[in-house]
Symmetry: C2
Subunit: 312 residues, 2 copies
């Protein structure tokens, strides 16, 4: 939620000239994305998001992420299209950083989605899964079950500092998920982080799916499980919203019907999804202890969701 790199207007003029997009009429640093700098830029040719990649992202993977966005946008998904410069290049160098200019999509993120938003996001996720077919090569999910198992081992009993009993609770869930992982289910491109702040709405219509920098190749039903965990609980995870959940899974199934095996695997995949966010948040929590300026997301919000899925 910050702008790490200032882009002087003069550099922006030169940058936009690579695309033949004319002079900047508007350029505002926007508070979006956790580890990139983002600018809303407007020229006579349209509106764009300029992203400078600051850290956390393996720059060698940028072409994969941006290629995926291009692939999905070309198939009619509401995904912002990376712009190609006059020589066809998408990944740019700007002020010593890697950068990309990406189509701007209208819409607002909803913090308290209703069932109709959940139905729409379920359907959009299914369309993403169908449209992702044929995009390759695969990209391993670096935040999958084995990563969760490693982080759980590394944090060990420190998890109990967050809540007494959390360490054994997490260890047991990790074991359940590893043993029960439904390897044979349909795989493909997953978004892997489709939280409400990564979905734009115009009214109840999905107008944008953004932030593909966790996308990977994994079980499609796992992505549905992530999205359910993200959308169908109160923010603190304390209450499961059954009507929202039915709408989300229903919206998904209308576009891409789930197999019986996928449906049966959903609670276990829900546990896996909760472990992923619980553990990365817990790691951030301990790493940023005492850093008053860093907003830490509450790991326990996903411990509560995990408890919901763990009970079946």
């Amino acid at each position: 939620m910050a702008v790490y790199t200032e882009v002087p207007a003069e550099d922006l003029v030169d940058f936009l000239a690579r695309y033949g997009l004319g002079a900047p009429l508007v350029a505002k640093g926007i508070a979006e994305g956790v580890s990139n700098s983002n600018y809303l830029v407007e020229t006579r040719e349209g509106r764009f998001i300029l992203t400078l990649y600051e850290r956390r992202i393996d720059l060698g993977e940028l072409p994969w992420f941006l290629g995926l966005m291009t692939h999905l946008a070309a198939r009619g998904l509401p995904v912002p299209r990376p712009m190609a410069d006059l020589e066809g290049g998408v990944v740019q160098d700007l002020l010593g950083k890697k950068a990309a200019l990406i189509e701007f999509l209208p819409g607002v993120s909803i913090s308290s989605p209703g069932p109709e938003h959940c139905r729409a996001v379920g359907a959009a996720l299914a369309r993403l899964h169908l449209a992702g077919a044929g995009y390759g090569p695969p990209r391993p999910n670096h935040l999958g079950v084995e990563a969760s198992a490693r982080t759980a081992r590394k944090l060990g009993n420190r998890l109990d500092e967050l809540e007494p009993g959390l360490a054994p609770f997490v260890a047991a869930a990790v074991e359940r998920v590893r043993r029960g992982w439904p390897e044979g289910l349909p795989r493909g491109v997953i978004h892997a982080d489709l939280f409400p702040d990564n979905v734009l709405f115009t009214g109840e219509r999905v107008s944008g799916l953004i932030d593909f920098y966790f996308a990977a190749t994994d079980l499609l039903a796992y992505d549905l499980a992530v999205t359910r965990a993200a959308w169908t609980f109160t923010t603190d995870g304390g209450e499961h919203l059954a009507v929202h959940d039915a709408a989300l899974v229903g919206g998904y199934g209308e576009v891409r019907p789930l197999s019986g095996e996928e449906r049966a695997a959903l609670p276990l995949l829900g546990e896996a999804a909760c472990l992923r966010f619980l553990l990365t948040r817990a790691q951030d929590w301990f790493e940023n202890l005492g850093e008053a300026m860093v907003v830490r997301k509450d790991p326990l919000a996903f411990a509560r969701r995990l408890a919901h899925y763990a009970k079946g």
Copy 2:
């Protein structure tokens, strides 16, 4: 340069309904302003900046600042117009903060202005001074010479920690400025902070004058001195840009000719302007020692400018 208050889309819908402006099509937190939260908001009716006032501003003074913007915009200045809600109200309550919805103006800030930018900004400042006549009641300049004198006394010899000899250099300048202050010069509304990041350009045309939260009633020529100090040096203050300076003062004089007394007072007013920024920056510097996350502006950049004006 941050968004301190998150505005959920649902609250934004309710907020915009007060104005009858329709639903939000876009809402992006933008990295603008030092101590406010700002959102770029778009509806079918247009684009706006939503500002939530976080701190540093005396909320009782908000009507004065917003009234000034309305006054200047109504007189054709490129100043963003505060929107009135359906009941005529401009200052709003939102999420426990005072807030205002303000017209969005296109344009970009220039970090390395050329002489033509300086000429245009000089002319815009003079138009602001002419258009400000009749706006009242007066607002004392809380960052005037007496404030600088107080801060200089408070910091005392600590200034030498920034650069050996800075404390006596500043004390002497404070005395010169107090003794020589040209009390009888024309007074009126001044912007008092017209740095390049508070001016928007479309090409070489000034399309926006923003951030009026330091505006006050003071000597008009002092405002010109602030603007010269801000625009006609290299950023580090090490080099005076004479061609830029002549263009800025020339652009001003074409719209509002300076009297002989005003012209004669400019070097001393330049010293006063440099003291204001040197001392508030020095104060911030010492207050934020050790705060790695806070960007501190270099006080010495204005000590160097002060040295330029002090030599006459």
